[in-house]
């Protein structure tokens, strides 16, 4: 798979602030790539560098193979949505899209395409109103439409759902999911649930440094590997000892007790999860326990994110 965005050693230093340090990251073409990090992590700085609004102190970046530069040629390859998008108040929504479309080059089907976009982002009825009359949510929707109007290879979205109500947020996430494969969506956010729902790749940034970048399932899997969550009914202290002696089991921890049910975290030896699961099932039957759950532990992105950030803090 080719890369839609390549960043090599991107570094940005503002007066007294190291915003970005040696960021090297490739964004595969056609993916929805979530760029995560706490406030001040350097997400917006990265997006601004890619859009050409800020210049890196060191390093290079390219969009669809075109070098990012002040001249702006690379901007023909991208659509950009700022956190708080602003447009010319004297233009209507439709005129705004026509203006951006013209800058991207001639397109014989421009007006039809603009009509479709306005419908899709839900502002068709307000298309011929001046944008000075638009609410924040409507500007966000228009911002998404103008990012798409040039049919760019890459769309950069800076906190695309932060200003939207729950319905608007769902709409935008649906749209992003729909764009998968059509174009590359690289977006920043701190809403981890959204990333888990729509992103097939994730990068985590903290204090200007890349902590981790991986396909979402791989990232989540790397934290759940070799750990089982086991819930047994009727377990007692001897159950822990019994579980520890099973083949493939490395360690056992009681997580909680709820009435007769006890939840265990069972760490298994590397690559021995399946064997351990089988032996736990056999152990429960032999010991007359009720096996309620015996599955690989699944972590949500928020937990993984916090674990990664914590790990870094400990390392620092």
């Amino acid at each position: 798979m080719s890369n839609a965005i390549s960043m090599v050693g991107l570094t940005k230093h503002y007066k007294g602030v190291q915003a970005l340090t040696d960021l090297t990251l490739d964004v595969p073409a056609g993916t929805v790539f979530g760029f995560l990090g706490p406030n001040g992590a350097g997400k917006t700085t990265t997006l601004k560098i890619l859009a050409g609004l800020a210049r890196p102190t060191a390093g290079d970046a390219s969009i669809n193979g075109v070098q990012v530069s002040a001249a702006g040629d690379h901007r023909r390859e991208l659509g950009y949505l700022a956190q708080d998008p602003r447009f010319y108040g004297w233009m209507t929504g439709r005129e705004t899209l026509q203006y951006v479309a013209r800058l991207h080059g001639s397109d014989p089907n421009r007006d039809r395409w603009i009509g479709q976009l306005l419908e899709r982002v839900g502002i068709a009825e307000a298309a011929d109103r001046r944008t000075s009359t638009y609410s924040g949510g409507m500007r966000q929707r228009l911002g998404i439409a103008q990012a798409l109007v040039g049919r760019p290879a890459v769309i950069l979205l800076d906190e695309p759902v932060s200003a939207l109500d729950p319905i608007g947020r769902k709409d935008v996430l649906d749209l992003m999911r729909e764009l998968k494969g059509e174009t590359t969506v690289f977006y920043s956010t701190h809403i981890l649930d959204d990333v888990q729902r729509v992103s097939d790749h994730v990068a985590i940034l903290d204090r200007g440094r890349l902590i981790k970048a991986a396909p979402t399932p791989v990232l989540l899997g790397s934290f759940t590997k070799d750990t089982l969550k086991v819930v047994l009914g009727g377990a007692d202290h001897d159950t822990v000892i019994g579980l520890r002696q099973l083949p493939g089991v490395a360690s056992v921890t009681i997580v909680s007790r709820d009435g007769a049910n006890t939840t265990f975290d069972v760490s298994t030896l590397a690559g021995a999860s399946a064997d351990a699961q089988r032996s736990i099932t056999g152990f429960a039957v032999a010991a007359g326990l009720t096996l309620i759950s015996n599955s690989e532990e699944t972590l949500d992105l928020e937990t993984v994110f916090l674990k990664l950030i914590d790990k870094k803090e400990v390392a620092a």
Partner: protein, 268 residues
């Protein structure tokens, strides 16, 4: 949003626009001209310029009709001289400065400058389009239209057709005046965020050469702010200093290069 799906199509299918230093220039120029017209700036500037041009054209007629000059020499009733009568002062320069002082700072304040710089447009195109649109629109509404209408009024009031070749030549040469002041405000706007600051420095630039010129005449002569007087002198066949033209051309080059260098390095 509705459930209608989108098919972006391959990105490579779109026609490629001309790249390089003037990427997006034509589209931004059209947008700038529309902004001048739809934002009513052109209407306001044109109305003030027209009122001033008509008033100065008919002054000799009014003075003559209301009982003379109280002992002063009689005013000329020459149609051409009276059309050009009011164009020697600082009115047009001040209007050009005021009309263009927020071209960049206003966009920066509204957040549209940052948006514009994420589109397929080069920074040079933004500056060049803003300058050209402002000079074009300003020249039409504040120079050519007032000159044309006051020429018509002069014909009626003074009973003769003015020398249109002379007036036309003056109009064309006089475009250099707004060209300089718009370039000045754009240059200042590349590094000053305050519109008031831009206007303040603009007015200092406008009046400083006259003050310095009282001590050092060559400074006033070489000043680009003297280009309006130079245009009048050339159009009416009076002696005109080449030094003024050189001063104008050199300052325009400095402003253009300076604005480009600063704006290219700008982060928004």
């Amino acid at each position: 949003m509705n459930a209608q799906s989108l098919a972006l199509g391959p990105a490579t299918a779109r026609a490629s626009a001309r790249g390089g230093m003037f990427l997006g220039f034509g589209t931004v120029l059209r947008k700038e001209i529309r902004e001048w017209v739809r934002g009513r700036r052109a209407l306001v500037v044109g109305s003030v310029a027209l009122a001033a041009a008509i008033f100065t054209t008919v002054i000799p007629y009014i003075v003559g009709a209301t009982g003379g000059t109280n002992g002063a020499p009689p005013l000329s009733m020459d149609p051409t001289a009276n059309v050009l009568l009011g164009w020697g002062g600082a009115t047009v320069a001040a209007m050009a400065l005021l009309a263009s002082m927020a071209l960049l700072s206003g966009e920066r304040d509204r957040g549209t400058l940052a948006w514009g710089l994420t589109l397929p447009v080069s920074p040079t195109s933004i500056l060049a389009a803003k300058w050209l649109a402002a000079v074009l629109v300003f020249s039409i509404v504040a120079i050519f239209v007032p000159l044309a209408i006051s020429s018509g009024i002069s014909t009626v009031v003074y009973g003769g057709i003015p020398d249109l070749a002379k007036i036309g030549a003056f109009g064309l040469l006089y475009v250099t005046l707004p060209a300089f002041y718009v370039a000045l405000t754009l240059f200042l706007g590349t590094f000053l965020k305050s519109t008031g600051g831009i206007a303040g420095i603009g007015f200092v630039v406008m009046f400083l050469p006259s003050v310095v010129g009282a001590v050092l005449p060559i400074a006033a002569e070489a000043s680009p702010t003297a280009i309006g007087g130079w245009a009048m002198a050339v159009a009416t066949g009076q002696p005109a200093s080449t030094l003024t033209l050189v001063g104008f051309l050199v300052s325009m080059a400095i402003l253009a290069i300076g604005a480009k260098v600063i704006f290219d390095r700008q982060e928004v």
